[in-house]
Amino acid sequence: MEKFEKVTGIAAPMPLVNIDTDMIIPKQFLKTIKRSGLGVNLFDEMRYDDNGNEIPDFVLNKPAYREAKILVAGDNFGCGSSREHAPWALADFGIKVIVSTSYADIFYNNCFKNGMLPIVLPEEQVEALMKDAEKGANARMEVDLESQTITDSTGAAYHFEVDPFRKHCLLEGLDDIGLTLEKAGAIETFEAQASQWRPWV
């Protein structure tokens, strides 16, 4: 995985609550057997009309936000299915950071596995950032994972919390499987014991 560097870029506002994974990437695009190439279909049904033409009003179709790297979204972002295609599509579009008051559990996990940072902030702060993001091309924000701060275009900085292990993995670009395989001994011991007391498993 690539290391998570400081992110500076445009933030796009999506004030809708409960943005679900079906909206982020509708199921017709889950038929791929690859991880890449899903960015063009990100938010497909909100982004294109029935003939496949862009809907100009949709935020990521507006000139100011086409290069957005940050998404500021309403509560409970990413609810619904476990499809990792959702973070893959966001990442492929270029989104590195999401800001919201809360996320669905599986989506939240999936982000970290793909080098993306989902930031949780209190409602007033998300609202302030949402307002800032509405300024279009001027809404350049900076996200520094090292110091756990996000700074908006006015210079207002907000501190966010992140699990230390996940932070470490993002900053170092560590692969979970590699880390776990270092504990192969512990897994073997567990299996040996389990085969004694739960042989039916």
Partner: protein, 468 residues
């Protein structure tokens, strides 16, 4: 020993390693795999030259893409892309030596129906699958939850998962349910109460008399939708009904192992004085047959209610409710029971089990669906289908005018050809009413199998108690 919840007990029994920062490595007893969320994980394994750590604990079945029409053995019934995904699973299952139920096997079906049916899901286990409705298996007192594809790869390679512990939430449903009220009404009503994010950060244990009274099928329906309430998992403590259901299944323990397993399974309950981070109590008597009116599973109301006014909500929900009503083509104040429908879908991992088909058939017996209505039953597995045929249910459905399909996910998420067209309105027994879930522009109302059957007869959302 300090008192523990059921979740605490299962967690402790599977803890492989705990780091100083609290990050835990949890052992996984069963890994269920389907064709949509696994190809990239197997590709990852191959690229890293890794093997499947415990193929014997890994069970694969194609379900999401497979056509449910009788001619599905013909490859032309699938789109090229769907065919490639199913073929990839065929190949991965074979190459890595997994337990596999191909489309041609009568045991094939929706992964969350096949697992319990074959006895793969047992009390006290940890069960994961690259699918959010893995929560279903919690009905057995197994800690079961959905994972993403990177985690699928992680479990394949290590048979463990990196986890942090969730908080404990108790949802108690007291007393008895009224006639016409089912497990689906319980689980939807809970989400209506807590919201789709109400369970975020928690594992829910469902308990109380109304839960105890449910069959295993009903309990699976309740746990299935725990994820729709945002919870990581739903759990129900195993009891005699659970043991009875499990006993004799192909992969359940036998003989002395059965006795040993029972000794442990009987300790799987939350201690009386266990600590709960959140408790919700609902009186069973207060639960009515419900339907959803919007595009989030929390948009739940009794069938006797009216479409709500978005202005009656607060915060971001005002806009979301307005958007829902625009999408659903509904007006505030409209009676829910006046809403006319075009299509009925009975099936999915929420309500595709034998008891669900019995409940729907009981309503349909001797009746016909409304003229012009499209109605289909998609059994959750080939074995459910066979049993329903044996019990004469298939005949009742067909006499009423329903299509009688082969097993799969079908119109629950419309990855196969079973889809709604724009504006088409469906009474569905599945679990998600998201925009476009059943087909672009399609409008979904979630409800119980009996309610869906009633709607098929009258052509509108209907209070099942009127025709019981």
């Amino acid at each position: 020993m300090s008192p523990k919840t059921l979740y605490d007990k299962i967690w402790d029994a599977h803890l492989v390693h705990e780091a100083e920062d609290g990050t835990c490595l949890l052992y996984i007893d069963r890994h269920l795999v389907h064709e949509v969320t696994s190809p990239q994980a197997f590709e990852g394994l191959r690229m890293a030259g890794r093997k499947v750590h415990a193929p014997d604990k890994t069970i694969a079945v194609p379900d999401h893409n497979v056509p449910t029409t009788l001619d599905r053995a013909n490859a032309a019934t699938m789109t090229e892309e769907s065919r490639i995904q199913v073929e990839a699973l065929d190949k991965n299952a074979k190459d890595f030596g997994l337990h596999y139920y191909p489309v041609s096997d009568v045991r094939q079906g929706i992964v969350h129906i096949v697992g319990p049916e074959q006895g793969w899901t047992l009390p006290g286990m940890t069960v994961v699958c690259g699918d959010s409705h893995t929560a279903t298996h919690g009905a057995f007192g197994a800690l079961a939850h959905g994972i993403g594809t990177s985690e699928v790869e992680h479990v394949l390679a290590t048979q463990t998962l990196i986890q942090s512990k969730s908080k404990n939430m108790k949802v108690e449903i007291t007393g008895k349910l009224a006639p016409g009220v089912t497990a689906k009404d319980i689980t939807l009503s809970v989400i209506g109460r807590t919201g789709t994010a109400g369970g975020t950060g928690y594992v829910i244990e469902y308990c109380g008399e109304a839960i105890r009274d449910l069959s295993m099928e009903g309990r699976m329906t309740v746990c299935n939708m725990a994820i729709e309430g945002g919870a990581r998992a739903g759990l129900i403590a195993p009891d005699e009904k659970t043991f009875e259901y499990v006993k004799g299944r192909p992969h359940a323990p036998k003989g002395a192992q059965w006795e040993a397993a029972m000794d442990w399974w009987k300790t799987l309950y939350s201690d009386d004085d266990a600590h709960w981070d959140k408790v919700i109590t609902i009186r069973g008597e207060d639960i009515a047959p419900v339907v959803t009116w919007g595009t989030s599973p929390e948009d739940v109301l009794p069938i006797t209610a009216e479409v709500p006014d978005p202005a009656s909500f607060s915060g971001g929900k005002v806009g979301a409710a307005q958007r829902s009503l625009d999408y659903m083509g509904l007006k505030p104040g409209q009676k829910l029971s006046d809403i006319e429908i075009d299509t009925v879908f009975i099936g999915s991992c929420t309500n595709g089990r034998i008891e669900d088909l019995r409940a729907a058939a009981a309503i349909l017996k001797g009746k016909k669906i409304k003229d012009g209505m499209r109605a289909m039953v998609v059994p959750g597995s080939g074995l459910v289908r066979a049993q329903a045929e044996e019990e004469g249910l298939a005949q009742i459905f067909q006499d009423a005018g329903f299509e009688w399909r082969l097993a799969g996910c079908s119109m629950c998420l419309a990855m196969n050809p079973d889809q709604l067209s724009p504006g088409e309105r469906c009474a569905a027994t599945s679990n998600r009413n998201f925009e476009g879930r059943q087909g672009r522009g399609g409008r979904t109302h979630l409800m119980s199998p009996a309610m869906a059957a009633a709607a098929a007869v009258t052509g509108r959302l209907t209070d099942v108690r009127e025709i019981m």
